[in-house]
């Protein structure tokens, strides 16, 4: 039976990034004099990073197919927030309809790029570089270079909390805490069921003590997190959206045929093709999906700013890409997880937030973020070579 130490040693890559995240969190907690982890700041931190995290989910899929990236996501974010303004303000359509139309526009942008990448076989780097220019241009044409204010509902999506059904009036947001408890109970039940099933079909499930420690730790983290949010304003719609997206895409990558095809393509494109996987179809859908997720990120971002602006989305693609690589994605594809991308995104987000609180200038922030990206990947490469030797 594996001891806990062995489990850690064998999964150094998986846990390495998590440990890095906790370390960075502690460092900034100290450096900011305890401000970083105050409930209101935690809430703000998620609020500020939700759209980058959404982009990172889609970007992870692109990178998994073989280290391919999408440079156009920042421009799609901008174009989608601009089209939201077009539909809801200029044309006066109801907000839900204009959100739907904007999501379709983002998806079509992804379809456009997917077509060139998958069927004409132009390298993704070039297609999305062109996309970056095209969508940015469309954004500016729609807005005529001006900033447009958006209806209130957008703000609600990005930053409002769900109503407190249970504990209205109390200082704590009770509904949030209850949701946290329900989620952790559901989580524990699901884990136990899947473990029982695995045991029944007779394959190695690892040590019981490690398993117990793991699910208790995760349940604790869920409850701590919701408790913390409850101390601020409670669970926001954006957090719910993010959690749902993480769950859905983790499921897709881990449990579905489509997910397996993506990993197989990144692991060895030729072998995947000769195993009957349609490379075209995988590439097309990964990029179409990226467009769709960028559109969701665009709506959330527009809501956060409460406006559509010509310079929206600048540099988002780079943050999303960095999040994936910090989170353990392989530059040649085939390796990486959605959770990894989220952890990477939080590492970036905490550094941004922490340094802003400390009053570090943005120039220095960039330098530090760049160095952290390099070190994260260097650490990854190092641990990989160690794992190979073992």
């Amino acid at each position: 039976m594996e001891s806990i130490r062995d489990v850690f040693r064998h999964n150094i890559r998986q846990y390495g990034m998590l440990i890095a995240l906790i370390a960075i969190m502690l460092i900034f907690q100290i450096l900011t004099g305890g401000i970083l982890l105050r409930p209101i700041n935690v809430s703000r931190l998620i609020f500020q990073n939700s759209y980058i995290l959404i982009l990172a989910i889609g970007m992870m899929l692109c990178i998994l197919t073989g280290g391919n990236i999408d440079l156009s996501v920042g421009s799609i974010v901008a174009m989608v927030s601009a089209s939201s303004a077009l539909f809801s303000v200029k044309l006066g359509l109801p907000v839900p309809l204009s959100i739907l139309l904007s999501l379709i526009i983002g998806f079509l942008a992804g379809v456009w790029q997917g077509f060139w990448i998958a069927y004409v076989k132009i390298p993704p780097f070039i297609v999305t570089l062109a996309g970056m220019l095209i969508f940015n241009g469309i954004n500016n044409i729609i807005l005529s270079g001006k900033t447009v204010l958006l209806p209130q509902l957008y703000v609600t999506i990005a930053s409002d909390s769900i109503p407190d059904f249970i504990g209205s009036g109390s200082k704590l947001h009770i509904t949030t805490i209850v949701i946290g408890i329900i989620c952790s109970v559901l989580y524990i039940i699901m884990e136990l069921l899947s473990r029982a099933k695995k045991k029944k079909s007779g394959y190695d499930t690892g040590s019981d003590s490690f398993f117990a420690a793991k699910i208790i730790a995760i349940a604790l983290v869920i409850n701590l997190f919701t408790y913390w949010l409850a101390r601020a304003n409670g669970l926001t719609y954006a957090v719910i959206l993010l959690v749902v997206l993480i769950a859905v895409y983790t499921f897709i990558t881990n449990k579905t045929v489509a997910g397996r095809h993506i990993y197989a393509l990144g692991g060895n494109a030729k072998a995947a093709e000769l195993s009957g996987i349609s490379v075209k179809r995988v590439m097309f859908w990964v990029y179409a999906n990226m467009g769709f997720l960028a559109a969701i990120a665009g709506i959330v971002f527009a809501g956060r700013l409460n406006s559509a602006s010509p310079t929206a989305g600048d540099g988002f693609e780079l943050d999303a890409i960095a999040a994936c690589f910090i989170g353990g994605a392989s530059a040649t594809g085939g390796v990486g997880t959605i959770i990894g991308a989220i952890i990477g995104g939080f590492i970036m987000g905490i550094m941004n937030n922490g340094m802003s609180i400390m009053g570090v200038s943005t120039f220095w922030q960039n330098i530090i973020k760049g160095l952290v990206t390099i070190f994260a990947v260097a650490f990854d490469v190092y641990s990989k070579s160690k794992a190979k030797a073992a």
Binding site: S201, Y203, K255, T256, Y263, N268, A272, L274, S275, G276
Partner: protein
């Protein structure tokens, strides 16, 4: 007795959990060809990697003396400087560079970092003449065949003034004629004083050229046979390698029931994907009966791989025409996926680059072609997947720590078994096997032949491509001979012989000329 050029003493190399080399002593005499034989994973390549500095000094125990001097190589560069050259099984050439550039790669004829092209070309031509490479010095390496690429590798090693040349499976990817040329070249270079260590699975080659043969088994040296002193026969060596007498290299063939024609191809024409004008497969027709193993013999570049790949859902080629009949019904296969669905499988020639996903584990590799069989509504049932993989692993005797082991860490023979499991799992009626035993050891070969026989006895149509004639003659029921994109002969197992097959090939070339 001539002097000892290389003396490796008490070499022990330990990988976490495995002792790859256990107190190995190897002496190589100046001017001899010394062969290392042993099954896959027995430590031959590890020993050579220790010698050439790939595993640097300090990561192993023991001492190496080369030309009387103690060596502490930290990298391949150090060993090259000392006069030891190594040519790996996988060629290390840059396909987009010319022959001359490749020969002097990392060893450029230059002054102050500026390359002297005149000198480069002059010396390249000299080296090419020496190794018998009849090509222009500025031909790109991608445009020449594997056999000639191997010669470029040797020229490259010679350019570094090596006195000991190590060749790891130099003929594994070569056809018989190219192998023959290469072996003659080695003998010739040897006459001129070059000492060679050759690692090979092809025992008949070893007995032909080696002066001494050292047999390694499980990381230890079993014995060294000397030409003219010990018995130097294939059987003797195989006995040393496997520790038992391998009476038959091919499993006995049960009188399988061969049924009606299960798969037939008529007038199949394929053009080169990069060159619309060039017909690669020229009006090929053949058939396979149920339960029959049909071999396709031919030289490298005869178009055998191209033929089966184009049949496998047009995975190769352009402007494809012709008819495929399966059980008498016409099939149109536009994609690999359709081919798999129609019950056709193709186990690739190159398991590392096209057969397996090396960073994935055994389980994921096996289920990849037919994920639909282990999933419901596109959601994979991992319990079922593991069960199926475990079943295959047991059935085919894949030696690993479990189905979660990465295929990249398996030995060649076991990797090949994973490839076979993958396609057995896809439940094909027609199975194309492209070089199914390339580069794997005798024991594993035997196991693979057994598996192939079993598949045939289940009534599957099997088409096997192989460049090793004994193998084709040993297990096929019927043999087609291919040359330059056409089928130039057909013979039954009883009438076939190596001479007859070679004659078929030569005649077809002569007729054309």
């Amino acid at each position: 007795m001539s002097e000892i050029i290389l003396d490796m003493r008490n070499i022990t190399k330990v990988f976490p959990g495995v002792k790859a080399l256990d107190n190995v002593n190897l002496k190589v005499r100046k001017g001899e060809i010394h062969a290392l034989v042993g099954e896959n994973g027995d430590g031959k390549s590890t020993l050579m990697n220790v010698l050439s500095g790939i595993y640097p000094y300090g990561t192993y125990l023991g001492d190496i003396f080369f030309e009387g001097k103690k060596c502490e190589f930290k990298s391949v560069r150090d060993s090259e400087k000392a006069g030891i050259g190594i040519i790996h099984q996988e060629l290390a050439l840059n396909p987009y560079m010319s022959i001359a550039e490749n020969i002097f790669l990392c060893n450029e004829r230059s002054k102050y970092g500026i390359i002297n092209w005149d000198r480069t070309y002059q010396e390249a031509r000299k080296l090419m003449a020496k190794v018998g490479l009849k090509e222009k010095y500025n031909t790109l390496v991608m445009d020449i065949g594997v056999g000639k690429q191997q010669l470029v590798e040797i020229a490259k090693a010679l350019s570094k003034d090596v006195r000991l040349l190590i060749l790891d499976e130099p003929t594994a990817a070569l056809n018989d004629r190219d192998s023959d040329n290469l072996l003659n070249l080695l003998l010739e270079l040897n006459q001129q004083g070059l000492t060679c260590i050759i690692i090979s699975h092809k025992i008949h080659e070893v007995t032909r050229i080696a002066d001494r043969i050292t047999i390694i088994r499980d990381g230890s040296i079993i014995e060294t046979l000397v030409k003219g002193v010990d018995e130097f026969s294939e059987n003797r060596i195989i006995k040393g390698m496997v520790g038992r007498e391998l009476v038959n290299r091919f499993p006995p063939k049960e009188k399988a029931h061969i049924g009606e024609v299960g798969f037939e191809v008529k007038d199949w024409v394929v053009y080169d994907p990069l060159d619309d004008e060039r017909m690669r497969i020229k009006h090929v027709s053949f058939n396979v009966r149920k339960g029959e193993i049909v071999g396709i013999a031919g030289l490298m570049g005869a178009g055998r791989t191209e033929l089966v790949m184009s049949l496998f859902g047009r995975a190769y080629g352009k402007k494809i025409s012709g008819t495929i009949l399966k059980d008498g019904k016409k099939l149109v296969l536009k994609t690999v996926h359709e081919a798999i669905k129609a019950g056709i499988a193709y186990a690739t020639e190159d398991r590392k680059t096209a057969g397996l996903i090396l960073i994935d584990d055994i389980r994921r590799n096996i289920t990849l072609p037919r994920l639909d069989k282990v999933s419901r509504n596109s959601v994979i049932d991992e319990g079922l997947e593991v069960k199926i993989a475990e079943e295959q692993r047991r059935k085919l005797n894949i030696r690993s720590s479990g189905v979660y082991q990465k295929t990249g860490n398996l030995s060649g023979g076991n990797q090949q078994k994973v490839v076979l499991s993958k396609w057995i799992f896809s439940e094909p009626d027609v199975l194309f096997l492209d070089e199914p035993t390339r580069g794997i050891d005798v024991g594993a070969k035997y196991e693979i032949y057994t598996i192939i026989n079993q598949l045939a006895s289940q009534g599957k149509c099997i088409v096997m491509i192989s460049s090793e004639l004994p193998e084709i003659l040993g297990i096929c029921d019927r043999i087609y001979v291919m040359n330059e994109g056409s089928i130039v002969g057909e013979m039954s197992r009883e009438e076939a012989s190596p001479e007859k097959i070679m004659k078929c090939i030569l005649n077809s070339t002569a007729n054309k000329g």
